[in-house]
Chain length 255, copies 2
Amino acid sequence: MPISPLFRPIDVAPAYQKVADAIEREIVNGRIKPGDPIGTEHDLVRQFGVNRSTIREGIRVLEEGGLISRDSSRRLHACLPRYSKLTSRLSRALVLHEVTFRELYEASMTLEVASIEGAVEQASEENLAELTDNLARSEAVVGDPAMLAECDAEFHVLVAKASQNRVLQLAREPAAQLFYPTTEMIVTGVAEGGPRLVAAHRHLIDAIRRRDREAGVLWTRRHLQDWRRGFEKIASLDRSVEHMYMEHAQAARRR
Amino acid sequence: MPISPLFRPIDVAPAYQKVADAIEREIVNGRIKPGDPIGTEHDLVRQFGVNRSTIREGIRVLEEGGLISRDSSRRLHACLPRYSKLTSRLSRALVLHEVTFRELYEASMTLEVASIEGAVEQASEENLAELTDNLARSEAVVGDPAMLAECDAEFHVLVAKASQNRVLQLAREPAAQLFYPTTEMIVTGVAEGGPRLVAAHRHLIDAIRRRDREAGVLWTRRHLQDWRRGFEKIASLDRSVEHMYMEHAQAARRR
DNA sequence: GGCTCTAACTTTGTCGGACAAAGGGACAGC
DNA sequence: GCTGTCCCTTTGTCCGACAAAGTTAGAGCC
């Protein structure tokens, strides 16, 4: 016969973790709003009654989670976690789990098609202006694989943004970040690559402007299939995402 | 006229950040493999030539990022970042950005349909066994909204797992984690809710077993539309995800 | 020999204090 | 009004210390 539950399990966690949890709670509960100052380390020492080293460890945890950050003068304040910072963690995890390019490709096919569908339906004039601006810049650097790959990555971020669906924006990020380095390789290796990429973007913008869902989906598929064909000239889709690609993501995260 | 770039920007970062970066690099480069011991704090003090407090701050950063963790005896070792830990951070971000349930619903429609399509194509016997087991447990707790909601969340994780696509598994997690608490509310509020949910699961397993893609997609759509109808009896789809839901995700993360 | 129990030893979590460098603010001087 | 200087605060880092928990090694017992 089980004994009656007289006691609750007691919460035994290191002090720095409790500090981090306490501050996190205040932020997610909304009592501390993004932008609000957290106070100096010394303030926190007084409030929590623990040593400054302990406070600092707690702060590192929150900082890494993107919940708080330090402004130009290194003062602490709460902030809205930036997707790109968090999703780069996920990209890193995908690399370490050695996912294959096939998984990346298939998931992206779904996510990018959903993005364009949302964009066709929801894009504002401002979204279109951003996309058009991106297209112009892409055309200017069509001969420079590195720059073009960067433009391509930005283009798809803008399409997702135009869908006005932030969940979707976030969901596609981890995979997209791993695509980016390969795009450069492909554009370098395939002569037709650059112009075809830019042409696809042009058709996509056109589809969004005309609210033509079919065309949007069609050109997104083609665009991704182009990537796939280019990639398969270099390597097998069943190869796992290489460690070296992480360096790109790592550099991007620091920005 | 711009001056010629004689100097590279110098890398000025706090020591604890450099420590974290150095260890991270070794892990993502594969020189330290998941499971490998990192050494004691004292070892790191010797290797990096900085104070233990500094080392500890660096360790916190990596620990929070899921790259290293402490085993039962609190010794440090590299590890494969667990998706659930990372995605709960994304869920938190979505809450703070006040995304709406409509965004959640529309993104999930895409992601869950993609999951079932993958599952229909790729599911192994083991995946089916897990799903069947989950169904049995769901039927046993159909009267208990909290338990049933938990089973429902697990069911969809298992479907995504059956797709054998880890990118997709990861992409759907943040949205799924925010769904979970609402499922409980809906099952509580709608009399038919529990049985309909279990019935949908049964049809989905059946579709996977028969490799019937159409049926899988159809029942996934219905299942989500059920959720939507139930939700709209309680609140508007355009309401933002409430702060209170975070408490579930927070509790889940600690597990 | 294999087992248990105990006594060092190690490691972590926390503490207190310390100091240099950088930033912010007030204040005088132009 | 702008600039330069001095002072105070804050952060990043260091040092040394100690209790608690875990590890290891060895003594003692079967």
